[in-house]
Amino acid sequence: MRFESQKAAYKYFIFTLVLLVLQVLFGLITAAQFIWPDFMAQTMPFNIGRAIHINTMVFWLLFGLMGATYYLVPDETDSELYSTKLADFQFWLLAVTGVVAVIGYVFGWTEGREYIEAPRLLDWLIVVGVLAFLYNIGITIIKSKKWNSILAVLFSGLAGLAVMYLFGMKFFGSISLDQFFWWWVIHFWVEGTWELIAAAITAYLLIKLTGVQLKVITKWLYLEVTLVVLTGVLGIGHHYFWIGTPEYWLPIGGIFGLLEPLPILLMVIDTMRHVKHSPELHHNRVALLWLIGAAFTHFVGAGLMGVVQTLPSINKWTHGTQLTAAHGHLAFYGAFAMLVIAAMYYAVPNIVNRQVSSSKGIWAFWVMLISMVCMSFILFGAGITQVYLERIMGMDFNYVKTNFTNFWLLWRLVAGVAFTVGTIILVDDFLHLAIKKPAVNRRDIDAGL
């Protein structure tokens, strides 16, 4: 760690883990409710549990990305953060807002739109928090006069993220308009602005972990960004197939949706190329493992599992089934969750000035990855079952659910339990990093010190 103010990231990372645990917990409850509908049905009904499951995810990913940004920016600008007090203020504002939102959902205080359930009042607090964040980062970069490619891409991604959130705040009487702009938040986040942020953070971590030059990374980064914008903007068409919008979105969404895996594939090639030809690999192999895993899972979950459903002729059969949930789980996990964890594994040991113990991080990596891949493929099976029985045979939703899909969803719960075990290992590893006394270096022991 070169600058004191990089420590601002620490709080964000800790809260990231708290929310991750909450997300997994509510995921378990809702997964169980698919199979045993009356399980906790009075205390924590499915609709509330699911709202908390998806909102804690959005929140922890945002906290993780903000933490990574606070760690990265001083490093790239060669300067201290503009204000660590502002970073702290912003942390508490957003953290309290997040907690209030979750408690609010329990009491039915919701705006009732997926992923952006936070009520209007909390929306405004989130806007204030995000503006404070952008101001802090922006001033730091401007003052340092060091606009490099990573900072430029990162900042445009973050600014875009904030702008898109505004489109989710308005109430529309028309359901078509509602869906039209709801997708601006969802699609332009995960297939647009978050991709830019992910590309920038990946580039930063590659430089740190493989020793590749910024000059080399820059070319890759700009190519990736060009492709993200080129495919992602019109790729929103694949969400405009069935919401009452004109028919020309069918070919547009299909074609540009097909191209959307390209920038992700480029990120995989970029990552592997630099890892293979690395002049000197960083000793922090755990962070490197998570970074490589993120690139591949991002491609499979977001790229492949999305692209198979993007053509309108296929999408009309698959849309609105568990296939979407299959894609959603692995995409979010690979594209953003694993990247945030990679950034944490790189940054946290530097912040607390301790060595990461490799075994737990590697265990967490494999347990979480394998269980999430299993969960995703199980949901894929459930989705295919639904397509065949509901869409082709015309059977009733509830009949198919109780008699057929629940077979899959039981195994999904098993995968969920395994994922929870992985999460516990991960959190335990970070707790040890944060709390335990500085580890005695192995080499010191060998040297008899």
């Binding site: 409710q33 509908p37 009356d38 049905a41 009075q42 499915f46 609709n47 699911r50 709202a51 039915g108 919701t110 705006e111 009732g112 739109r113 997926e114 359930e117 109430f171 009487g173 028309s174 359901i175 078509s176 308009l177 509602d178 869906q179 039209f180 820059t218 070319k219 700009y222 190519l223 960004v225 060009t226 914008v229 080129l230 992602g232 903007v233 019109l234 197939f241 069935w242 919401i243 009452g244 919008t245 004109p246 020309y248 979105w249 547009i252 540009f256 009309k316 059969w317 849309h319 609105g320 089934t321 568990q322 869409r391 082709i392 045979m393 015309g394 009733d396 939703f397 509830n398 109780t402």
Partner: protein
């Protein structure tokens, strides 16, 4: 390097340019559409009750309960009125009934669902391949 960046920016900007043209074309009829007051009230109710966390509309939502895009057509308004007045057990629950609504609320929500029912979506959900085949064979017999 600079040339590279400029080429990248220009190529990347083609997509947003096309997008904004289509945006104008798609949005102008939607923005002019008059939405009846009770439909808007019904939509607020749909949101405040968090219906989308279990159900789906246009296939977007919680995937744990049936899609309601065409429910008015399939069930009829009378069925839905009775459903909300005296909610049945939520299948496959054995203990929990579907949340109910007072008459005014039910009327608004049904107005909203009737409005959703009429939104022109071409091709979704697809006609069941089986029922299509049945219809064809019936036709042949006649």
């Amino acid at each position: 390097m600079n040339k590279f960046v400029w080429i990248a920016i220009i190529i990347a900007l083609i997509a947003p340019a096309i997008f904004f043209i289509l945006l104008y074309n798609s949005l102008s009829p939607m923005l002019q559409e008059e939405i009846p007051e009770n439909v808007v009230v019904g939509k607020r109710l749909w949101q405040s009750k968090g219906c989308v966390e279990c159900h789906t509309l246009f296939g977007n939502g919680g995937y744990n309960a049936p899609d309601l895009t065409k429910t008015v057509e399939m069930r009829g308004k009378d069925y839905l009125e009775k459903f909300f007045a005296k909610p049945p057990m939520m299948r496959p629950h054995k203990q929990r009934k579907h949340p109910g609504l007072i008459e005014k609320e039910a009327a608004d929500l049904i107005a909203f669902l009737a409005f959703v029912n009429e939104v022109p979506i071409i091709g979704w959900p697809p006609e069941h391949a089986k029922s299509k085949a049945d219809n064809n064979s019936n036709g042949a017999e006649k």
